[in-house]
């Protein structure tokens, strides 16, 4: 009898619940956010899915809707969207956060604080720097949601080119918090932004007029945006950070003639030996295109190509590192972190005036090792018919 009373009590307590119940009809699925700043006020643009029944073939409504809110803090701006939105914003499915470069140049910590503090928001969305405003407004073909479109573009770029980077929010926070690391984020911009781009008609032509385009990597120093790398520097950055899955390298073999190698495996390790940074890069790849008359049936020729690429790559990486050191003076390659982890005593000596003295001067040795494993379908050279 007593047990039954306990059991009944148990179910009575259960019945008082339901505070957190949110039906799908009551929530708006937030997939992306863009944060801008206008006159000291945050402008938060939330991209919300407009779910449409799959069997309705004629799409008359936009696949997503942008709600805009302004406020002194980001939370306030979010909540102010309730003046426009009929449903509560549900942000666990957020895929993309675009931070406008104005904020990145001023103070990025306020953005971080909001997102890391809020348990209702996950930390696995991608963070990008927006070079212009209203990037999320664009309606894109193929993927109807521009957020999924951007996400997949980022991931594809990582897989096949490596000129951009995928940085999730917690990695971003880690870079922000760790005193030895500098922030590097991918960027995004809009080409031909006009009113048409926000309409469904934008997707009706094969040559889409308004579209977004991934920019190169944005680099920070002391948590403030310094500038953007070039495409080659971005690839170098990704090679050194081991972010690359697959990329291509193109170098001149003869005058105005080029060979392209597709890198399918790449690993870089940064070490500190005798107060010098040593970077070992191991790559393997395929010859994808060759304009030169090289007989690849011969072993020596393969070696020659490998040697050529190793030297050129070494050269270009060395050049890129020096450029970045001189132009931005930002340690995006985590040299200080490497020293901290592998040579703590040196770190103690240099940490106080790292940027003032050591960073620009420290010697960087680069060893590259490229092995060409397959040579494409053909062995012969496709020669010009003379």
């Amino acid at each position: 009898m007593n047990k039954k009373i306990i059991l009944i009590l148990f179910f009575i307590f259960l019945l008082t619940g339901c505070y957190d119940n949110k039906e799908l009809n009551e929530i708006a699925i937030l997939t992306a956010t863009e944060i801008e700043k206008v006159d000291d006020q945050y402008v938060v643009k939330s991209q919300v899915v407009n779910p449409q029944a799959p069997d309705k073939t004629t799409i008359t409504q936009s696949p997503f809707i942008i709600y805009t809110g302004t406020g002194k803090t980001i939370q306030e701006a979010y909540r102010n969207t309730t003046t426009e939105s009929p449903k509560f914003l549900y942000s666990n499915h957020m895929q993309i956060l675009i931070i406008n470069e104005k904020i990145a140049k001023e103070n990025i910590s306020e953005v971080i604080d909001f997102y890391i503090r809020n348990p209702a928001i996950r930390t696995d969305f991608y963070v990008l720097i927006g070079k212009n405003e209203n990037i999320l407004d664009i309606i894109t073909p193929i993927e109807s949601l521009s957020s999924s479109s951007i996400k997949e573009t980022l991931e594809n770029n990582k897989k096949y080119l490596g000129s951009s980077a995928t940085v999730t929010f917690d990695e971003f926070v880690n870079m922000y918090l760790n005193k030895n690391l500098e922030i590097a984020l991918p960027s995004i911009e809009i080409i031909n932004h006009d009113e048409e781009g926000e309409k469904l008609e934008n997707t009706e032509e094969s040559q889409v007029k308004s579209k977004y385009k991934l920019g190169n990597i944005a680099i920070f120093k002391d948590n403030k945006l310094q500038g953007y790398l070039t495409k080659d520097e971005s690839i170098t950055y990704n090679i050194l950070k081991n972010n690359i899955q697959n990329t291509i390298l193109t170098y001149e073999c003869e005058d105005k003639k080029y060979i392209t190698i597709e890198i399918i495996k790449s690993s870089a390790s940064t070490k500190i030996t005798n107060k010098e940074i040593t970077i070992d890069i191991n790559m393997s790849g395929n010859i994808n295109e060759s304009h030169c008359n090289i007989d690849i049936k011969e072993k020596d020729n393969i070696k020659k190509i490998e040697k050529l690429f190793e030297n050129k790559l070494e050269e270009s990486i060395q050049k890129d590192i020096n450029n970045i050191r001189n132009n931005y003076n930002s340690d995006i390659f985590n040299f200080l972190d490497t020293i901290y982890k592998y040579d703590y005593n040196t770190y103690q000596n240099i940490k106080n005036n790292w940027y003032e003295e050591t960073y620009k001067k420290i010697k960087v040795n680069i060893n590259t090792n490229i092995s060409i494993i397959t040579k494409g379908n053909i062995l012969e050279v496709i020669d010009e018919k003379n």
Partner: protein
């Protein structure tokens, strides 16, 4: 009385040693020892060998009696004070456990539900469980442990691709002063409280021969699991993120992806912690109710309900918000449980002396 399988008893001990992994272990060590957390946990389990061996020594004494009766036999009237003190410590552990799980659930799963309600539900279930007897507690703990372990393995193997060993470097360069103290603290909250399990006398266990062996195996397994939790959390998140999150062990589960398509399943995987908290809480109520000698089941249930009300009231009176709670977790809680080592030692010495006198 029905016998209890060795594995079932082992599962209780295992859950006691592993449950504090959520929210308490890392919070105690993360600020004082930095990236050396994984060394601290190894050390803590080495320290824990002492109470463990004393535990096995005590369990051999008068095997038919539970802990409180053993103490009464050994110390006569003074035994009541010792029993009272151990009960108070058990109550404190219960209070911290309840707040920990409440806080975890309300901060991560159900933001708008009130903490008291969640606590009442968990406690009611624990009291109901107690009314079914110790056999039911051990059986359920064994079954839940299997689920726990499966979830743990799934999450660990899924996370193993994200492990970045360099996040654990440099080894023993910074924050080295507090390592030993932190290890003692961890040991005191993870391992010392297993004395509560002595409330299940050895004679109740189905094969007494393998009792010690099974407990040692459990200890090693618990060590591996605790170590892997801290190791994975630190090496996946990095020390900076570990420091800012309230529940870094939970945050790391957000990265779990199974077979490519099951993503964002941290709320399913995190059930391993809630299950652990629940079983531990049930065990504490069981221990406290063994002090209440009554053959009448109704009276015993009423006693359990009073304990439950006590725990939930104290929890809500003491911990008004997270900050107070974390303050207490770091400053008071380990020292309270550390007192248990005194009882281990006193009881063992008394048993030793008594046996010397007899011969």
């Amino acid at each position: 009385m029905k016998k209890i399988n060795n594995l079932e008893l082992a599962s209780l001990i295992f859950i006691q040693m592993v449950t504090m992994d959520l929210g308490i272990n890392i919070n105690i060590i993360k600020n004082s020892t930095g990236v050396n957390g994984w060394i601290v946990i190894i050390l803590s389990f080495i320290i824990g060998i002492i109470p463990l061996s004393l535990y096995m020594y005590i369990s051999n004494f008068s095997t038919t009696h539970p802990l409180n009766e053993k103490i009464n036999i050994l110390f006569k009237k003074a035994g009541k004070i010792i029993n009272f003190l151990i009960s108070i410590i058990a109550l404190v552990i219960g209070i911290f456990l309840l707040y920990n799980s409440n806080n975890f659930i309300t901060s991560q799963l159900l933001y708008r539900t009130s903490q008291i309600m969640i606590g009442i539900i968990l406690l009611t279930l624990a009291i109901y469980h107690n009314s079914k007897g110790i056999n039911s507690i051990t059986k359920v703990s064994f079954l839940l442990l299997i689920i726990n372990f499966t979830l743990f393995l799934l999450s660990f193997f899924s996370l193993s691709s994200n492990i970045n060993i360099s996040n654990l470097l440099p080894v023993l360069k910074e924050n080295t002063d507090n390592i030993f103290l932190s290890a003692l603290k961890l040991s005191s909250i993870n391992i010392f409280p297993i004395i509560i399990t002595l409330s299940i006398p050895k004679s109740l266990v189905s094969s007494e021969n393998t009792y010690n062996k099974d407990i040692i195996k459990t200890y090693i397994l618990a060590f591996i699991v605790s170590f892997l939790v801290i190791f994975t959390t630190y090496s996946v998140l990095g020390i900076e993120l570990v420091k800012i999150f309230e529940y870094p062990e939970y945050m790391v589960l957000k990265k779990v992806t199974l077979w490519g398509f099951l993503q964002r399943i941290e709320n399913i995987v995190a059930n391993q912690w809630i299950i652990g908290n629940y079983i531990y809480l049930t065990l504490i109520i069981y221990y406290l109710s063994t002090n209440f000698k009554s053959k009448n089941n109704t009276q015993k249930n009423i006693f359990n309900i009073i304990i439950g009300i006590l725990i939930i009231t104290i929890t809500n009176v003491i911990f008004k918000n997270n900050t107070i709670y974390y303050n207490y977790v770091q400053t008071i809680f380990p020292y309270i449980t550390m007192v248990l080592i005194i009882f281990y030692v006193i009881i063992s010495i008394k048993i030793y002396i008594d046996q010397k006198i007899k011969h």
